[in-house]
Amino acid sequence: MSQQSVEFTASLLKADGANVEHSTEDWLKSCQLDARTHFEKCPLPTTSEEEWRFTDLTGLYKSTLTPSALDTPIDPSVVKSFLIPEASSSVVLVNGVYSPSLSTVSSAQTKIRVCNLKSALNDAQLKVSVKRRLNSLEGDGVSGFCEMNTALFKDVVVIHADSNGNSFETIHILNISTGKHTFNHPRLLLIAEEQARVCVLEDYIGIGGFGYMTNAVSELSLAAESQVIHVKLQRDDDSAYHIAHTHVGIDKGASYQNWSVSVGAVVSRHNLVTRQREDGGHIAIKGLALGHDKRIVDMHSCIEHTKPHGQSIQVHKTIAGDRSKIVFNGKVKVHKGAQQTNSSQQNRNLLLSARASVDTKPELEIFADDVKCAHGATVGQVSEDELFYLKSRGLDDDLARNLLNYAFAKEVIEDLPIKSLGAVIESYIRDQTKI
């Protein structure tokens, strides 16, 4: 651990000062204090740690960050341009804090509750669930940044879904950062009860912000036979640091579908951990990362098959252009006794520029014998034959390449259930993969 990381850790704790206005709850207070003590002892990771070897955060550690202002005015029309028509509820967080004026939470649907931590704690029934599920992070993929979020979060978006028939309701959570060299710690807690169905879009943008750090933690708990679609779109400002941890717990027969798209920030890191809590369960993870300019995009996923009959399928595609660096670490762990696991993973990387680089490590750790596991990883460039085919039909070199890059990335988002979002992501692909 470097001196810089230690100093940065201390400065963040100092800058934050007084904390948690809503901590009337003792358990919550002690949970935040514990995290704080723990976080003080183990500072943030550096490249000397195996898990963070390729993600150089020196730039972040060198900067001096202050807490975000809590009452930044934002033009509602700007916010509106980012909202998606499919969403029945839109939750807008400004610098990690719920903004009631910008959010529209549908009250017609009683099966799905969307609220902030304060209102959740005022509801006796919801409080029990929140208390049970909040901060249940464990195992691989937990880092100092998680502890930091737990210690310093100002609010939590709570989504509680009860069984609601066959319809998928879409909830858009828009995290807006506005500060210059500030930090914020958005937190999401999603609890899907038995047979519930819900689609959540976790969206990160910067409006007027610069050099800020978003340190997000999302916890999702899927009860038996529930179905959750979770889309995470990271389109933070190009100067921002985006660190995110997603932890998913999966009960019997539940299905978790994830799309993780990274098209912003100067350094971004996403730790995605899914863990089977019971027999069975289906996990599908699709990832897309675009490397542009000097960006570092890092995705660390860990699929933990702890119980029998689990299924997982993962596709992660990246395009590295300019001087960008793409990192992927895809771990699949099959624990003792997790028989009949069926897991496949595919990682494909496209290198566009001579100065871009890709570091990938698909890992398999298997401790059960009756399983089917496979992974594949490739690093390469656009095929000359395909290029020739397009050129022979009159496309110039740049356009042909752009089209092939686009097609390569498109596969990931083709079956994205939020159609309007598909178009948004497509425009990012077109912009950021130009030669």
Binding site: L351, S357, K372
Partner: protein, 478 residues
């Protein structure tokens, strides 16, 4: 089916015997004095002593690597005898002069030496503990200008070559165990193939660890000059002991323009009993440098022994159009642990590498593949293909894959695939229905599984390795 699996798994170690020979051992422990003593006993020149001392001083500043996926008790480096040589040391002109006990040992292992060597067409440089006892075929090889001798002889007779190449591929600063080896290595093999020479026979070294608690620190150096070709075989067996023995060898290969080195290993050292008591710690640094254009280095290994294996034969593909290959079968059983794989560094243009790794885990063992494919920014047109397959026998063992792929050149093409499987009931049923009993069926399935690797072994080794796998897994599936 489990009884037959158990039987194969529980096959006792067949090469486990201990030869009583008077040995000249030094006191336990490591210090500058010990290194000076080793050096003076071997009448080494000053520059080599200097090399050893520098390595030792550097070693003192290092710590043992913690990253491998293996667990073992802490090694007390002061509790190891760093030098032991059979006492009867006068130069021998014929096999009759060799200690008969020693010959018996070789006989039990079925090593072709002397006449048998001639029949088998293999020149054997036998390393018994640390000092080469006899070297055969030297004259015949000398006709071609090939130097194949023990490391100590090479230091005496060809100091310029040793000075030039020693530590040039694996510097003593490389890692903890290579530093230790550089400080205390006692002997090993040296091989030099001059320009344009195709080595007329496969060169082979058999290693045996004999004296209890004597760590073995071999040093192998192979230099293949422009346009030359050599095939080198290395095989290991060790008698059964209860205390863990450390083996930290260093192998360096250098291939000049158009040279071709093929290095094959069959490793079957004592793996400890079924409760993990005893067994060899095998911490080896093997690296080949494809220095010249169109050079090629190929590693083939069959790892079936040792309690703990930590070994990554690597290729540095420096010359344009150079080729690196790695074919490996790693079998672990009982409480064995293996963390093995390869590293391919693509530096030159149009360099190619190919990795085929097959891991078989049985019992309570843990088998990891750890590989690195690194393409540097200047390695235009680099190409890699990796395939790592694992097979699990029983539900108490583990199989892991940790492939690191680091690419910094856009014209590179890197592919990696891995799969894990078990011997399916359906496959066994298919064999049974055709009158093949389950044990033979399993052996056939496993032979099919490792075929891609075994076909790269020299003929004699392939036969030996097939037998070895059979022995190791006898009765393990049923």
């Amino acid at each position: 089916m489990s009884t037959a699996i158990d039987n194969i798994v529980n096959q006792p170690y067949k090469a486990g015997f201990h030869t009583e020979i008077e040995t000249d051992s030094m006191a336990r422990g490591l210090s500058e004095d010990v290194i000076r003593t080793i050096s003076s006993k071997k009448n080494e020149p000053d520059w080599l002593l200097e090399f050893r001392l520098n390595a030792y001083r550097h070693w003192l500043t290092m710590t043992e690597p913690k990253w491998p996926n293996v667990r073992y008790p802490k090694i007390d480096f002061q509790d190891i005898i760093y030098y032991s040589a059979p006492k009867s040391k006068a130069t021998k002109k014929s096999m009759d002069e060799v200690d008969p006990e020693l010959l018996k040992t070789f006989e039990k292992l079925g090593i072709p030496m002397n006449e048998r060597a001639a029949l088998a067409g293999v020149a054997v440089d036998v390393v018994f503990d640390s000092v080469s006892v006899t070297t055969t075929y030297k004259e015949k090889l000398a006709e071609y200008g090939i130097i194949f001798c023990s490391f100590s002889e090479a230091v005496r007779d060809h100091p310029d070559l040793i000075k030039k190449y020693l530590g040039s591929v694996v510097p003593y600063t490389d890692n903890f165990y290579s530093a230790l080896n550089s400080a205390v290595f006692t002997d090993g093999s040296f091989c030099y193939i001059p320009k344009g020479v195709k080595c007329p026979m496969d060169l082979s070294t058999y290693f045996r660890i004999n004296t209890q608690d004597s760590g073995q620190f071999e040093r192998t150096l192979i230099v293949a000059e422009e346009g030359s070709q050599v095939c080198y075989l290395e095989g290991c067996t060790a008698p059964q002991f209860d205390t863990n023995q450390l083996h930290a060898a260093v192998v360096e290969l250098i291939a000049m323009d158009d040279a071709d080195i093929k290095y094959s290993t069959v490793q079957n050292w004592y793996a400890g009993d079924e409760n993990g008591v005893g067994g060899i710690f095998n911490f080896v640094t093997k690296r080949g440098l494809c220095k010249g254009k169109n050079s090629k280095i190929s590693w083939t290994q069959v790892e079936t022994g040792s309690a703990v294996t930590w070994k990554y034969p690597s290729c540095i593909l420096l010359g344009d159009n150079s080729v690196g290959e790695f074919y490996s079968v790693a079998l672990t059983n009982h409480m064995q642990q293996a963390d093995t794989g390869t590293k391919m560094f693509h530096i030159g243009k149009n360099t190619r590498s190919r990795i085929i790794s097959k891991g078989i885990s049985a019992g309570k063992s843990n088998n990891s593949y750890r590989g690195l494919v690194k393409v540097s920014p200047k390695a235009d047109g680099a190409r890699n293909y990796s395939q790592c397959d694992s097979m699990l026998i029983g539900d108490l063992c583990g199989a892991n894959t940790f492939p690191y792929i680091e690419v910094a050149n856009k014209s590179a093409t890197v592919e990696h695939e891995a799969s894990t499987s078990k011997i399916g009931e359906e496959q066994l049923f298919y064999f049974l229905s055709r009158g093949i009993d389950s044990e033979e069926a399993v052996s056939m399935i496993i032979n099919g599984f490792v075929r891609d690797v075994f076909m790269h072994l020299p003929m004699e080794f392939a036969v030996e390795a097939t037998k070895l796998l059979g022995l190791k897994l006898e009765g393990s599936v049923g």
